[in-house]
Amino acid sequence: MNLLFALVDCNNFYVSCERLFRPDLAGRPIVVLSNNDGCVVSRSAEAKALGVPMGAPWFRVKAQFERAGGVAFSSNYALYADISARVMSVLEQLAPRVEVYSIDEAFADLSGIQAPAALGAHVRATVQRWTGITVGVGVAPSKTLAKLANYAAKRWPATGGVVDLTCPQRRQRLLQRVPVDEVWGIGLRLARRLRGLGIHTAGQLAQANAKVMRRHFSVVMERTICELNGESCLALHQLPEPKRQIISSRSFGGRVSEWQPLREAVSQYAGRAAEKLREQKQYCRLVRVAVRTSPFAMNEPFYGNSAMAELPLPTDDSRELVQAACHCLLHIWRPGLVYQKAAVMLTDFWPPGSFQPGLFEVHESKPRSRALMQVMDRINRSGKGRVFLAAEGTRQGWQMKRAFLSPAYTTRIGDLPRVY
């Protein structure tokens, strides 16, 4: 049986979520901003038409965007996650095997389906009606081609939002039209190198010799070329490689200069990272902390620095990791500066029980650590409350700036949309 994949991708997902309960915003330019209202991360068609670039720093585009009648929203992840879960649940009801790829994209295995384009149109109509979110559907014999089909579905409205590339002639015509940097996995740098070799379109890449390209680039490039030729190398639910690092970083809402709030923020990031570490059932031995001031501040010197601590034994205990992070921070904190961002990175991972300690080292660093961490995680996952180390602070004045946050329309009773 020939393999067949569909990529279902929500159009302007965050903006579409914001619009769902705001019919008054129909036709107006809308953007959604990243954490801390930093950059533009989602744009409505009207905002794109105004020429607001993806990733633009908000302070640069704000004045002009608002003058043109645009509306900005802070990221409302409670809302996006809820709507995403609905979209995915509808998909799972329509296609038997679904792999959620990101908050707004999923692959479905359509192998053996007789009329995939018709199913694609049915999926699109149903998701639209049930959830209010519009999706594009790309169908093809490999994941990389399905991605390209989806790109075409979004780019050319005449397709009705569904593009089926099972027919090889159709595939050829599209490949020749698409620039090579739209191919899945070909970033800007790779695209530049490829153009140096005279490869400008996806079609030219598909015709390149896969074995030769593997020698020039990597096995990933070889796989991409095979996939472009309709030969699937990436199955559904292929196991991702185990993660090698966990990063917890964020910009502060206000600007932070005092030691106390900075230490609280770093403690919280370390606590979060430790939680993720335990979720992945890993231990880690290296903790790295970085801080920096704003690169955009005019009359202040820029300062950025990082420090690393190696623990005697791999651990997943929040207390040890937070302590190590604070120790790092002490080395790089300079008084008198205004900090804008901090990050905590955990790395050097060890699966439980795989570390060989030295003969004279303590084996169990903290007795009953496991039980305590399990209780903490269980409470925090239950949704009924949150416990954290006192080091994280209780006032958290350094929290994110979210000036344009919409209500939690779907997850909080007091925030439900009101109808007259």
């Binding site: 309960f21 019919p23 008054d24 915003l25 129909a26 879960a85 609905r86 979209v87 649940s89 509808v90 009801q93 009606r129 049930w130 959830t131 209010g132 329309y409 779907t410 009773i413 439900l416 949309p417 009101r418 109808v419 007259y420």
Partner: protein, 145 residues
């Protein structure tokens, strides 16, 4: 399903009940209670009110235009987007950018009718944008806050 000895059919069928205690945590499942076969799940209001969870949103009624249909200000309305907005159903409609709850009539002409004689029916004319958000399937009202 468990049989009268508290054993589950299938892979574990026939396993002596006392072995299960060692597994820990689920001991109560194996206790040979005479009530076993009659146990039912508790009543879940989600099941009662929500047929299609992925397609169902909640909104809050804010006006008195649907009082004769039993919808009061502050009521929670369960809105199912997967149902057809057919003649006579109570719907959430977006009219000129505002969300409103009204009874939908499709014939002899399309109009939104309030269940309160103080409000005239709305007939979407030229320059009116009308879009149906979903069909109201239940009303939830708490009498004691």
């Amino acid at each position: 399903m468990a049989d009268k000895y508290g054993n589950f059919n299938g892979a574990d069928a026939g396993a002596p009940a006392f072995l299960a205690a060692a597994a820990g945590g689920a001991d109560f499942l194996w206790f040979p209670s005479p009530a076993r076969d009659y146990v039912e799940q508790g009543i879940d209001l989600n099941d009662y009110c929500i047929r299609h969870p992925a397609a169902t949103y909640l909104v809050q009624a804010a006006g008195d235009s649907m009082i004769n249909a039993g919808i009061y200000p502050g009521d929670l309305l369960v809105v199912d987007r997967s149902l057809e907005a057919s003649h006579g159903r109570i719907v959430i409609a977006c009219v000129n950018g505002e969300m409103t709850c009204k009874r939908l009539e499709l014939h002899p002409e399309v109009r939104l009718v309030a269940e309160n004689s103080h409000y005239a029916p709305l007939v979407p004319g030229e320059g009116t944008s009308l879009e149906i958000f979903g069909v109201v399937t239940s009303v939830v009202r708490r009498l004691v806050p």
